[in-house]
Symmetry: C2
Subunit: 218 residues, 2 copies
DNA sequence: ATTTGTGAACGCATTCACAGCT
DNA sequence: AGCTGTGAATGCGTTCACAAAT
């Protein structure tokens, strides 16, 4: 009983949800797989396959009802209610994430940031999130029913922080440190590695400027 | 003549490179596909396939020479020389990225940040990167031979900024705004979407707490 | 004995093509 | 006619298994 929904599908659902919010804003009541696909730069079949995973709520000849689809996807993604989030690491990146406008507060609420530095503990971020000491992490997670942890500490501390978050009971962690921390199987760690992103771009540049002789030259 | 190297491979090369740097630091002179795979949590065959894309420089019975492999991968990824980077958007995220320690300056150098706000233009980030007006973007890119652009502006401005970066001659853009900007085919835009990352995690939580009745129940 | 390099097998995800509703 | 839902086909990436090399 592994993952019911393939992960590429889940990630696209997130895109659909955003588009649906905009359509809803614009007063559209239905949308076709073709439209949805066009705005997300995808194949219409892809969209239909993705949505069909959860049973058919499209109307043939018409399309999908925006508000219904929106609710269903929000539920699948777990953002039908506000998810509380803690951030460990109140450095530049941590505080930036804490104040990030993209998490509009309806689906994700940053409860607090955590750090060990005396300079930072006791302060607040620009938008008013408190910075607490890491030894308050477990209590905060428990009392405020936090579901998600974000790791924004240097590589050297990341594994320890992941252990602490796991010990505090979190099952889902987003890691920004440039390492692949290990975690018990019930804890999912997803990494965003900025250097990998940049290097995957520079590799394209390198390959364009020097199209190398390919090994199989027959 | 599309992409010579599959993109998943490129991303793993980036991981290998980091491990190789550590091995080099630790004084190791050779490494096997098995070791490399273990530290990256991958299959040894995967590692060998990845490395074989560029012709065999492994020694059978021994493994790969750390320093040689490191140089080769660095070259493939285009980080055998310093790549200059500009960041558009000097808000929380932009400045955090500008000061990010993970880009150690050897492979990536943040040349400047750009913004349109009078409050920000003329200032410097904590680590001393200048914040310039966006209308200086093109000149800076040209004069300093900048290769990469990072977009750290709100969703509403992202498309315009991508257009400006493309017009300035950049061919590779890393976008943090929650939109999929369009760009001419010679310009590669790669997006890091924080909300997608978070929602792909919460979807796991949602699916665990409520394992729904699957449609195909025969 | 050990480890690479690689064809073959496998599995997963995307795309196609069309039957089935509205 | 228009659009969804889906089996079939395709393509791609990963893993297996083993021959070749040191």
């Amino acid at each position: 009983m592994a993952r019911r929904v393939p992960s590429p599908t889940t990630r696209r659902l997130s895109l659909y949800l955003r588009v649906l919010a905009e359509l809803s804003e614009a007063g559209e009541s239905t949308v076709s797989s073709r439209e949805l696909a066009a705005t997300c730069d995808l194949n219409p079949s892809q969209v239909r396959k993705d949505l069909a995973h959860f049973g058919g709520f499209g109307k043939r000849g018409v399309g999908y009802e925006v508000s219904e689809l929106r609710e269903v996807i929000a539920k699948i993604l777990g953002v039908d209610r506000t998810q509380r989030v803690v951030i460990v690491g109140a450095g530049n990146l941590g505080t930036a994430l804490g104040d990030y406008q993209g998490f509009d507060g309806r689906s994700f609420e940053i409860v607090a940031l955590f750090d060990v530095s005396d300079d930072k503990v006791g302060t607040r971020t620009r938008s008013g999130r408190p910075v607490l000491h890491v030894n308050e992490l477990e209590r905060t997670v428990r009392e405020q029913e936090v579901a998600l942890g974000i790791v924004a500490v240097p590589a050297a501390s990341a594994q320890r922080v992941v252990d602490q978050l796991a010990a505090a009971g979190l099952r889902a962690i987003l890691n920004f440190a440039p390492v692949r921390p290990v975690a018990p199987p019930e804890v999912t760690v997803q990494s965003v590695d900025l250097k990998v992103e940049l290097e995957s771009l520079t590799s394209l540049l390198a390959e364009r400027s020097a199209p190398p002789p390919d090994p199989d030259a027959d």
